[in-house]
């Protein structure tokens, strides 16, 4: 099906626990493939150059801005998008703390917080800020997001005790 001159490659992406065959061009970003080819529109374009974090997903356990990663780098890596989170504590916390308004930044923020919570359940203020300052929310005052993420971190700690 594919000829050597075709810009397309057929690859398999591991997304949200499923293997997805998909035709990609080397210049396609992961964000583009997720949204346009796989219909996973939860990850949002906000700037397309790494400034806003609305496109954040989780790649092999780490938060990653999907507009900054080529899809061609993704085969063999485990990708989780917002659609792959089902009833996680951080999602509940965002609802409970009113940590969003328009919701456009929310997928990216939740994915970033999710990686933070998974990797650093004991994160201190400094680390939280370092992680979360890469995303922009234009609606909230961030206080609500801070409450949400901290409520999950501290509940993690409580469980450990």
């Amino acid at each position: 099906m594919k000829t050597s001159s075709s810009p397309f490659r057929e690859v398999s992406l591991h997304v949200n626990g499923e293997i997805k065959p998909v035709l990609i061009k080397p210049s396609d970003t992961l964000l583009y493939i997720l949204r346009v080819k796989l219909g996973l529109t939860g990850s949002k374009p906000g700037c397309l150059n790494g400034d806003c974090g609305a496109c954040t997903v989780n790649v092999d356990g780490m938060a990653m801005k999907s507009c900054l990663m080529f899809a061609i780098e993704a085969p063999g890596k485990r990708i989780i998008t917002i659609e792959g989170l089902k009833g996680t504590p951080i999602q509940h916390a965002f609802i409970k703390e009113f940590a969003f308004q328009c919701g456009y930044c929310t997928s990216g923020f939740i994915m970033n917080c999710y990686s933070l919570v998974e990797n650093y359940p004991d994160a201190n203020d400094e680390l939280i800020t370092e992680m979360l300052e890469s995303n922009i929310c234009r609606c909230t005052g961030y206080q609500e997001i801070e409450n949400a993420v901290k409520s999950v971190l501290s509940s993690n700690k409580n469980l450990e005790k």
Binding site: L85, F98, C139, Y142
Partner: protein
């Protein structure tokens, strides 16, 4: 209260935390074409020639629109060609539109369009625009079609002038012992909503135009497509799914027109136009700039006697909504004070800047920065506590506004109560300025706010309620869910009225102008009031219908019945009644006879007794009520390098009645954040040629996580009698005093008057050291 005041979760909450929430750009369909724009690299230039030959060679290109004369557009003055012809008037203006199979092809082709320009002298500020020999942005403004009540002044750059003449300004000056004059200016900036604007248009074979768009004004899109292109309003269907933040920026109609033209050029096929961040910042309408002069006079004891005000709003290249913004700037041209003699000219000025759309607060954050800075300068001159000066002059029931509306305890909140609360929260008695052991200076600044809405006098809002067989209700309103949570508030209002669990109220989030009743525009903090009134009327209508059927079934009079808790029952004997589910689809007797049918409640609300402003004096009633408040900011200032940190920001607002505590807090906090961004860091940086140098998030920098201060929000509750449960508009009010409070705090900290925005350290340094180092 049953549910009013409770922090009910947003109705669309789950969608938003699972990625299922759909915004315009998430919609795609096979065969959809894509449009991209070519933008002007000049702020003012004549277009000599356009050559599209090379662009056409890119595979996939379906249409190129350039140099063609389309109907002029614009809400009050039709001065804007959707795609530039003859000349360009701002940096980033749309010069051509390419439609192709995919966005990459469209982009490639747009880059190959060759345009020859002849640069023209640039008008780079409203003050420049007013100079006698200023270049004209529009040479023939008198030739433009316009609505009544707007008066572009021929051979000038003045798009409109609104006059306020209240009392006798000469008398005011003669009664004044002390006067002060403040001059304030700032450049345009942007809303920078996280969702960039997107529109999809299609012209169906049967002539229907279907537009899906991220807009705060889908019903306006429908009217304007009719006005500009002569398509019957009934044949224009506008869909608006969830919107990723608007803040006024999406109240202007722009991409919709381009998407329509693009679709028309390819035989009506579906075309999507999605802004990049850079386009969203400069090509689409921005946040207005202002040059202002304020002169205040007061008695020795600090009672204000006169205010003379000149507002030169930087409407940019096209007047669109800016005329209305400048008009609203005249309506509340002073701060919330009792001043008998007011003279104001509020002008909308053409410049070669990106053109303006409304910005959360609709001129109020801008004018309050000017006015409240001047109030602080006055307090300083008088040697009076700035909070005391404001308390003394606070506007009260019985006083009149600049447009001479007599205020009462319903249409005006309680400002003295807000001031007193602010004083407490800010620990005012501990002093306004102190030096910390580490040498840093702590300073507090305050300001007072007020705002009414200046919207069309016939603006209305409609609601339809339909019932489901299980007794639950669908709430359908034309309010767009832009993040304010208004539709959840409406559900609470309905839940309260029907005494029905909120879970049984299903809210339709998406707006479709064919099936959703109109809500004029989702702007001006009027959603809760207008749509809330419509909900109550629709509930009344539904309840009447339910009672009528139930009266037959229960063999009683309609007036004997009550609806609550999912039942309709006898008021005096609540155990006798029937479940709503058994009446809302009509009642069926055991023998099969049925009476009634599906209950459909309808309600509309139109603002009452609104009037136009008198062209000579400005007298008139532009809005239904004035929300008031007092705000403060505390900063920590380093006088060695002029940097500062915002420690705390406080808002005390008379909200009338809190309907959803956490949602209200969130609205106010978010608005405060945006106000601090506008005041402290955000502005377009223009070079001498009027080009915007910072159209990216790495150079145009909103606040990020961790840069935010502590927010304190406190509410006073003085009900607005004619509003649902007394609730006042509050979506914008958290923002509008922040630039002024920050300016006042930093002016005190740095001991210099800071009358420009944004308040970046460099600006403070320049103000401190004078301009002798300007070239460093």
């Amino acid at each position: 209260m049953y549910i009013i005041g409770k922090s009910v979760y947003r109705k669309e909450a789950v969608d938003k935390v699972t990625g299922e929430a759909i915004y315009t750009n998430d919609i795609q369909s096979p065969g959809m074409l894509h449009a991209r724009m070519l933008l002007s690299p000049y702020a003012h230039a004549r277009i000599i020639s356009i050559n599209t030959e090379k662009a056409w060679k890119i595979p996939g290109v379906r249409a190129i629109l350039a140099g063609e004369r389309f109907p002029l557009t614009g809400e009050e003055i039709r001065d804007r060609p959707p795609i530039a012809v003859d000349k360009v008037r701002y940096f980033g203006e749309t010069v051509a539109l390419v439609v192709a199979d995919n966005p990459v092809q469209a982009k490639r082709a747009s880059e190959l369009i060759e345009v020859v320009y002849e640069p023209l002298p640039v008008v780079n500020s409203p003050t420049e625009a007013m100079q006698a020999n200023a270049p004209l942005v529009h040479e023939n403004i008198e030739s433009y079609e316009k609505v009544e009540r707007v008066n572009p002044e021929p051979n000038t750059n003045i798009a409109n002038r609104t006059k306020i003449r209240k009392g006798n300004i000469q008398k005011g000056w003669s009664e004044s012992d002390v006067t002060v004059e403040g001059t304030v200016s700032f450049s345009p900036s942007d809303h920078a909503a996280m969702e960039t604007r997107c529109s999809i248009a299609e012209i169906r074979q049967d002539g229907y135009v279907v537009i899906t768009t991220s807009s705060q004004a889908p019903f306006m899109v429908k009217k304007l497509i009719n006005l500009y292109f002569g398509i019957d309003t009934g044949k224009v269907i506008v869909n608006t799914p969830l919107v990723g933040g608007g803040y006024g920026g999406k109240a202007a109609v722009q991409l919709e027109i381009l998407a329509f033209l693009a679709s028309r050029a390819v035989g009506g096929k579906k075309v999507k136009l999605f802004n990049t961040r850079e386009e969203d910042l400069v090509t689409s309408p921005c946040h207005i700039g202002l040059d202002a002069k304020i002169k205040l006079g007061c008695t020795r004891n600090g009672y204000l006697k006169a205010a003379e005000i000149l507002y030169l709003f930087d409407g940019g290249a096209y007047s669109d909504k800016a005329v209305d913004v400048s008009r609203a700037g005249a309506v509340d041209c002073t701060g919330p004070y009792h001043i008998e003699n007011v003279w104001c000219d509020s002008l909308c000025i053409y410049t070669n800047h990106p053109y303006a759309s409304p910005f959360r607060g609709f001129s109020h954050s801008e004018l309050l920065f000017a006015f409240e800075r001047t109030m602080d300068m006055l307090a300083q001159k008088l040697g009076l506590d700035p909070l005391e000066l404001r308390r003394k002059n606070a506007i009260l029931p019985g006083h009149t506004t600049p447009t001479q509306v007599r205020l009462n305890t319903s249409n005006l909140g309680n400002l003295p109560a807000c001031i007193d609360r602010l004083k407490e929260i800010m620990k005012w008695e501990e002093g306004q300025r102190s030096i910390q052991p580490d040498g840093l200076i702590r300073a507090k600044g305050i300001c007072c706010i007020w705002k009414t809405s200046t919207i069309d006098t016939d603006s209305s809002s409609g609601v339809i309620l339909t019932f489901n067989p299980d007794g639950s209700v669908n709430l359908i309103s034309g309010v767009v869910e832009i993040g304010t949570g208004t539709k959840t508030i409406l559900a609470q209002i309905l839940s309260e009225r029907l005494k029905m669990p909120i879970e049984l109220i299903h809210v339709r989030m998406k707006v479709n102008t064919q099936t959703t009743p109109e809500h004029w525009k989702t702007v001006a903090s009027r959603g809760t009031y207008m749509a809330g009134r419509a909900v109550l009327e629709a509930a009344e209508d539904a309840v009447e219908q339910i009672k009528k059927v139930a009266a037959c079934v229960l063999h009683g009079a309609v007036s004997d019945l009550e609806v609550a808790g999912g039942r309709v029952f006898l008021k005096d004997e609540p155990s006798t009644g029937i479940e709503l589910k058994d009446v809302v689809y009509g009642y069926t007797y055991p023998n099969g006879n049925t009476i009634g049918g599906q209950v459909i409640g309808r309600g509309t609300y139109t603002l009452r007794r609104m009037t136009y402003l008198d062209p000579q004096t400005g007298e008139g009633r532009p809005g239904p009520e004035w929300t008031v408040g007092a705000q403060g900011v505390e900063v920590e200032f380093n006088k060695r390098d002029f940097t500062y940190k915002i420690i705390r920001a406080v808002s005390v607002i008379d909200i009338g009645k809190v309907i959803n505590e956490k949602a209200a807090q969130g609205q106010v906090m978010g608005a405060m954040a945006m106000g601090l961004c506008f005041g402290g860091r955000e502005s377009f940086v223009f070079d001498e040629q009027g080009r915007v140098l910072n159209a990216q998030f790495r150079t145009y920098r909103p606040l990020r996580y961790g840069e935010n201060p502590e927010y304190v929000v406190s509410f006073v509750e003085t009900p607005q009698i004619d509003a649902p449960y007394g609730a006042r508009g509050v979506g914008e009010h958290g923002l509008i005093g922040m630039p002024a409070a920050l300016g006042n705090a930093l002016s005190i900290a740095a001991e210099v008057n800071l009358n420009q925005l944004p308040l970046i350290p460099e600006l403070i340094w320049r103000a401190k050291k004078g301009n002798q180092h300007a070239l460093i």
